[in-house]
Subunit: 332 residues, 2 copies
């Protein structure tokens, strides 16, 4: 580790899937050599809309950690940690809540969308409405300069920087550090059913933990072009999950372009295209699957790794918290 700090992570509400892999995990593996990367398993945030189901959060902490290790994230080069094992984040959140108005929280476009999806209305749990403040604590606790996000999460960066600016201007010194987004250049993958994006809990994902048989079954049932009934029919590429995944995973771009032409013209069935995709996915996922099984043999050791990462994260967060408390004249 060394260099600028990156804060990234996931809510442990399901195992990670191909969408995570293509959009962020692969990137993290690249970044771990150049940055001081903090990778958060956000159990407290996951509870904001899962109080009735702590089992789900609990079970997925280990699963997400296994996914990290399996894709090659190195616990020595990153701080991989559990949010609730860094209580400094909770305390920072309490102070930041005083710097954000209710109106501002209600204007957050990401939270607004999620609230609509979940049908919360005014019955939104206060913890859910305020989670962007807790995210600002996640980010600032490590003086993170970069936060990898999708475009839909830019409001979270904005909210964090508003808190940073307000804090620093109120107490007339640079206590907190502004952050910038690292925008993902990979389009979000569609679900295997062609309905919307691939999601942890929507039943349309290929998980990193899927075995070869499950993977093959999912590729075989994958949504293509419902109008492409006979091999001789011309087919559509747009909205065709198989081609979207090939775009993300086929290393032979020229070959893929040729394939697309043929498919559009007619005379190419779904089966050979799916076979091609399966070959690439299997090549990519089988070493991950192997490593995952290896690490999965000793869950206690994985938990020790998370505890060690959490201790490392706590040390840094404690220093930031001390600065924040000092600005607030709470150093007794």
């Amino acid at each position: 580790m060394g260099g600028d700090v990156i804060l990234t992570g996931d809510r442990p509400t399901g195992p990670l899937h191909l969408g995570h892999y293509a959009g962020s995990l692969k990137k993290r593996v690249e970044l771990q050599d150049k940055y001081d990367q903090y990778i958060l398993i956000a159990d407290m945030q996951a509870l904001t809309d899962n109080v009735g189901n702590p089992e789900k959060v609990h079970d997925n902490v280990l699963k997400v950690a296994l996914d990290y290790l399996a894709v090659g994230l190195d616990p020595d080069r990153n701080a991989i940690f559990i949010q609730s094992l860094v209580p400094e984040i909770a305390e920072l959140t309490m102070y930041y809540l005083n710097m954000v108005t209710l109106a501002r929280l209600q204007r957050n476009p990401t939270v607004k969308d999620e609230m609509k999806q979940k049908g919360f209305g005014a019955n939104v749990p206060a913890g859910f409405l305020t989670y962007p403040v807790s995210q600002a604590a996640d980010i600032t606790a490590f003086r993170a300069k970069y936060v990898p996000v999708g475009a839909d999460q830019l409001p979270m960066i904005e909210q964090t920087n508003e808190i940073v600016d307000k804090f620093n201007s109120l107490y007339r010194r640079e206590v907190l550090v502004r952050c910038a987004p690292l925008l993902s250049d990979v389009a979000r993958l569609p679900g295997i059913d062609g309905q919307g994006k691939m999601g942890k809990s929507t039943g349309n994902a290929i998980f990193l933990k899927d075995d070869a048989e499950t993977l093959s079954k999912k590729v075989r049932m994958m949504y293509t072009d419902p109008l492409h009934l006979r091999v001789s029919d011309p087919g559509h590429i747009k909205g065709n999950t198989v081609f979207s995944l090939l775009d993300a995973f086929d290393p032979d771009k020229a070959g893929l372009a040729e394939l697309k032409k043929q498919y559009k013209r007619g005379g190419l069935g779904d089966v050979p295209v799916k076979d091609r995709l399966l070959r690439f996915l299997e090549a990519e996922l089988s070493p991950i699957r192997r490593k995952r099984a290896e690490f999965g043999k000793d869950p206690g050791e994985v938990m020790n790794m998370l505890k060690k990462g959490s201790r490392k994260a706590r040390e840094v967060a404690a220093r930031v918290l001390a600065d924040v408390r000092s600005a607030l004249l709470l150093s007794y």
Copy 2:
């Protein structure tokens, strides 16, 4: 200490005054022998609407502590502590925020009134809107059974018990303890200007720290009956601050009843009534003033006492937090 737990305390936003003394401090001195009393100096809560003025909060932590010691609260028989030195409260608050809806917070009558007073509207800081949840953490962190309150603070007890019930029912065990109010039997004292209640920051209070001369001046300028112009005029008792304070501090109830009769009939001037009040107040306040000055000589020692109390409080709060985390399956 030993026996049922009481949680009480004050926001350090000003030194304590006669109203606090009559309505709660005297009671606490009685209770310290019968209960396990936790006395909270709520610096984090004070910051919820004072982010722009942390100096005020900081300066008053010590002042409030001196007031406690001066009235006879014993740091060995009570846990006198600073809220922000017990970070377990912040973490509990984060979990409880998931159990309360925005609509419920907006319905809280006490917060509604305070928001109106402060002119917040939708620009209320999120930390202020959610402070009843933080109070639920203050109370439950020590498994407090009783909370001394005025009638206007009953909604805070209600909110706490709602969280307790929701938590225990969600996780199917008695993790948190319900609390009951200890209603004050002393009416709230009016301000010396006769305008509303005596308040920390409204310029109408007699402070425990006032010296003899200030006390005498405040009694001499005290609001009585604006229609009682000549000694021979009949006077009014109702709304007359001097008589309200005599009701609270005159030990000779029969003598006071006789005095009121005379005042109402006419023929009794304000001066002798004020002299009588001053005599009782001076008798009550001069030993407090002496003790306050004594303790004030060594602020470092007072801070040590607060730190010791905070350590004691932390031990208990950490046990409750461990139970809460275990119910939430966050014991790693």
